[in-house]
């Protein structure tokens, strides 16, 4: 592993794909350039984030003002409410967090950071996005077909999801499963590229431990995904058969078992949390190192910890099922494994905090996002301990406490992590510097309302409020005035947060029109993507300027050097 990697593509003339291909906008549809594919994933994911955010707006309005005519949507029936929460969850995880963090930044960063001209299999990469694009159309179509979108929660537990007489959405539920299944296929194809590119295409001189941590984390996430998704893909096909041709894999009346689906789903579903978490954690450590001007505290500790987390994550899935009717003795085993996984995650947080020690911290917009990720994710982490302890989960299971907990993990991952990455690499992606002042307004007007949405929801959960109920006025304990005030407060906070996103779009538009040029390395960072032009040309570097690596990516503030950074490709001085 420490030998210089053999590079299959280095220095070869870069001519065959693209230049003889289609021209005009078709060029983008059929491009095999990893940067173009990254943008396709990014913009599709951002569009889907708007769809998922709109859904959150509609059902939060219904919760705050039950029965109101929601502007832009209308009255929310019980069935529509269920469809909205189902597809909000599905879209935010499978069509926002995964495409943006894993696919967009994985595609953009891996070849640039390991110093190669493209992915190992560019055409598989293109196919990956095309399959993903089809899956996007399928999931959007499922919302508007007769009977409405699937309304059985993003976990899709049978028999509700398996039988149209129970879920009343014959087309929506089948399209939902097909869409999710296609999405899995797309990410399997993408994952092949991530892993093989890291293994085979590193620049000359780049050893395994010279690879930036974000690349390591995206690749470990891809491996986790590939190992965990198989059982669920099989389960999805069984579910489609149950829905459409009358098999009974999950139907107890014909000898099937509904709990089987839950095992298949969560065997994937829990590693999936780490599939999206790891890229975000990788992004954050890159940014912290750059803006603290510090070497990462314990680079190898981070990698070993991430691998340990990945392995452990395959042994915790049944903590989603403590009270689902599994053998209650199993809860003991899964309580132990679940609480054990807090150890590596805590260690990662400690490493991040330790990296700040002795730094020279610059609070730029990307750095604010990265620091906010650590601060907010800690809340998500510690509230997970409550739910991992089976005794407390008896009460908390399926309450708003769970909901608030996982939004404190997924929001830092999918939104804070994405904004951190986007603002940090924007100069590289588009060649221009974003407005820092607008960026900070956007940051604070997102972070403060975010906490004002979800901290109150912990209180509602502790008060016994269950999820996925469209109107609490029928429950005497939950219809209390104080509780309704909390719901209104959370909804108003959400509206503020959604409006604040306009600042971000305005900032992007303004930068696109008249932002200052970024230059090659505006943040004075070390990794290889900062050694080429912004934006990088097709092939990333000119063929005779392909980088050669001399050191790791975090050599900041090295004593005895005049600069406080030391790019990976800079040749060592003769006298050293």
């Amino acid at each position: 592993m420490v030998e210089p990697a053999v590079d299959l593509t280095h220095g070869h003339p870069h001519d065959d794909h693209e230049h003889h291909g289609p021209q005009g906008w078709l060029k983008y549809l059929w491009s095999t350039d990893h940067k173009v594919i990254a943008m396709q994933y990014m913009f599709t994911g951002m569009f889907m984030a708007m769809v998922g955010g709109f859904m959150a707006y509609v059902f939060r309005m219904q919760l705050a003002f039950p029965g109101m005519n929601v502007p832009g949507f209308g009255m929310v029936s019980m069935g529509e409410y269920n469809a909205l929460v189902t597809n909000h969850g599905t879209i935010m995880i499978f069509w926002v967090a995964m495409p943006v963090l894993l696919a967009a930044f994985g595609n953009f960063l891996i070849p640039l950071m390991v110093g190669t001209d493209d992915m190992v299999f560019p055409k598989i990469n293109r196919l990956s996005f095309q399959v993903f694009f089809v899956s996007t159309i399928v999931i959007l179509a499922s919302l508007v077909v007769e009977g409405g979108g699937f309304a059985g929660a993003w976990t899709a537990y049978p028999p509700l999801s398996a039988n149209e007489t129970y879920n009343l959405t014959p087309l929506g539920s089948t399209l939902w499963v097909i869409g999710v299944g296609l999405e899995f296929v797309a990410f399997l194809l993408g994952g092949i590229n991530f892993i093989t590119t890291l293994m085979n295409s590193r620049a000359p001189g780049m050893r395994a431990f010279d690879v930036p941590l974000v690349v390591w984390m995206i690749v470990v996430a891809s491996i986790l995904f590939m190992l965990s998704v198989g059982p669920l893909l099989a389960g999805a096909i069984m579910l489609i058969f149950d829905q459409t041709i009358g098999t009974g894999f999950f139907n107890p009346a014909t000898g099937g078992d509904p709990i089987l689906w839950q095992h298949l789903f969560w065997f994937f579903g829990h590693p999936e949390v780490y599939v999206v978490l790891l890229p975000a954690m990788g992004v954050v450590i890159e940014i912290i190192a750059t803006f603290a001007r510090k070497k990462v505290f314990g680079y190898r500790i981070v990698i070993f910890t991430v691998v340990a987390t990945g392995v452990l994550s395959f042994f915790v899935w049944a903590h989603h099922q403590f009270i689902a009717g599994i053998d209650p003795r199993m809860a003991n085993i899964f309580t132990i494994t679940t609480l054990l996984i807090s150890v590596p995650i805590a260690e990662l947080c400690f490493v991040y905090i330790a990296t700040l020690y002795g730094g020279s911290i610059r609070l730029t917009t990307p750095m604010l996002w990265a620091l906010a990720f650590v601060a907010e994710f800690l809340i998500g982490g510690v509230t997970g301990i409550f739910l991992g302890a089976a005794g407390a989960d008896i009460y908390f299971h399926d309450t708003y406490f769970v909901l608030a907990h996982f939004h404190y993990t997924f929001f830092p991952i999918a939104i804070i992590g994405t904004y951190a990455a986007f603002t940090y690499w924007f100069p590289k992606m588009f060649g221009k510097m974003m407005d820092d002042r607008l960026g900070k307004w956007h940051f604070w007007l997102t972070i403060i309302p975010f906490n004002m949405i979800f901290i109150p929801l912990f209180v509602l959960g502790m008060g016994g409020q269950h999820r996925r109920i469209s109107n609490y006025s029928g429950f005497s304990e939950l219809a209390r005035d104080g509780f309704q005030d909390i719901r209104v407060f959370a909804t108003v906070s959400l509206l503020i947060m959604l409006l604040a996103q306009l600042i971000f779009f305005y900032n992007c538009w303004k930068t696109w029109r008249s932002g200052p040029k970024a230059g090659k390395n505006p943040w004075k960072a070390n990794s290889l993507e900062w050694t080429t032009e912004s934006p990088p040309p097709h092939g990333n570097w000119h063929p005779d300027e392909m980088p050669v690596v001399h050191r790791g990516p975090y050599e900041f503030s090295v004593p005895g050097r005049e600069d406080d950074y030391w790019p990976q490709n800079e040749p060592p001085r003769r006298d050293s």
Binding site: S360, F386, G391, I394, D398
Partner: protein
């Protein structure tokens, strides 16, 4: 009441949720314990984090960052010791959680005063009460829809079933929750300790009418409950079968 018991009543004391069953305070105690243990870590971590950001912020005085790679033991111990401490606290939480879990879900107290059958269906709860004889599936069983009637301080066993899709029987005041699965009968127990009317929620999405799958648990004194049983015992001793179960709305 001792200090530890007081902790178990914290959420009742602040008016968030009542303690309504014999084991509710055990769960609340576990929740408070976890809050204290992880709370200390959380506050410490956030304080150190913010302190570092303020102390090591670039103030434009030309100070360079330190070069620390975290490889030598003197530095590494700042990560190693805290994470060993996290492990120790995990063990503490695991032990208390085991106790609570065993008491509620694994150990079934013997000789119940009454056995009830709870059946979830789209979108109602069917309760089959044991009636005056304390036995289930006898002629004097009382069937109700969405209304559970129990006597305070008595030990109840329940048999939880579902007719169509998954449901989850949840009475927050009792801190009880268990999924109901078609094709299975899951046994559990509870012992109410507070009279009054309490919400029964369905905690697992079960289709279009999930929101309106609302029930009420009536916890009555001995006299009230005896009166209710007397007033509702079926006049004829018909053998209960699936056919005379009242159907849902």
């Amino acid at each position: 009441m001792g200090f530890l018991e007081r902790l178990g009543h914290f959420f009742d004391d602040i008016g968030l949720i009542r303690i309504g069953s014999s084991y509710a305070a055990d769960i609340d105690f576990l929740i408070v314990l976890v809050t204290l243990v992880v709370g200390v870590w959380f506050v410490a971590a956030e304080l150190i984090f913010v302190y570092f950001i303020m102390k090591f912020r670039d103030k434009g005085d030309g100070r360079r960052a330190d070069y620390i790679d975290g490889k030598n033991k003197r530095h590494k111990k700042w990560i190693t010791y805290p994470h060993l401490a996290v492990l120790v606290f995990d063990v503490l939480i695991i032990v208390v959680s085991f106790n609570v879990w065993h008491k509620i879900k694994l150990d079934l107290p013997e000789n119940p005063d009454c056995v009830i059958r709870v059946t979830g269906q789209q979108w109602a709860w069917i309760f089959q009460h044991c009636g005056a004889d304390g036995e289930l599936d006898t002629a004097d069983d009382i069937y109700t829809v969405d209304e559970l009637h129990v006597e305070n301080d008595k030990l109840y066993h329940f048999k939880l079933e579902a007719k169509d899709v998954l449901h989850s029987f949840s009475v927050p005041v009792w801190r009880i929750k268990q999924d109901a699965i078609p094709g299975r009968s899951i046994t559990g127990w509870f012992q109410p300790t507070l009279t009054g009317e309490f919400d029964v929620q369905c905690a697992e999405i079960c289709g279009f009418g999930h929101t309106v799958m609302q029930g009420t648990a009536f916890v009555e004194t001995a006299e009230e409950h005896a009166a209710w049983v007397a007033a509702n015992t079926p006049a004829e001793a018909a053998t209960p079968t699936a056919d005379n179960t009242p159907s849902a709305r």
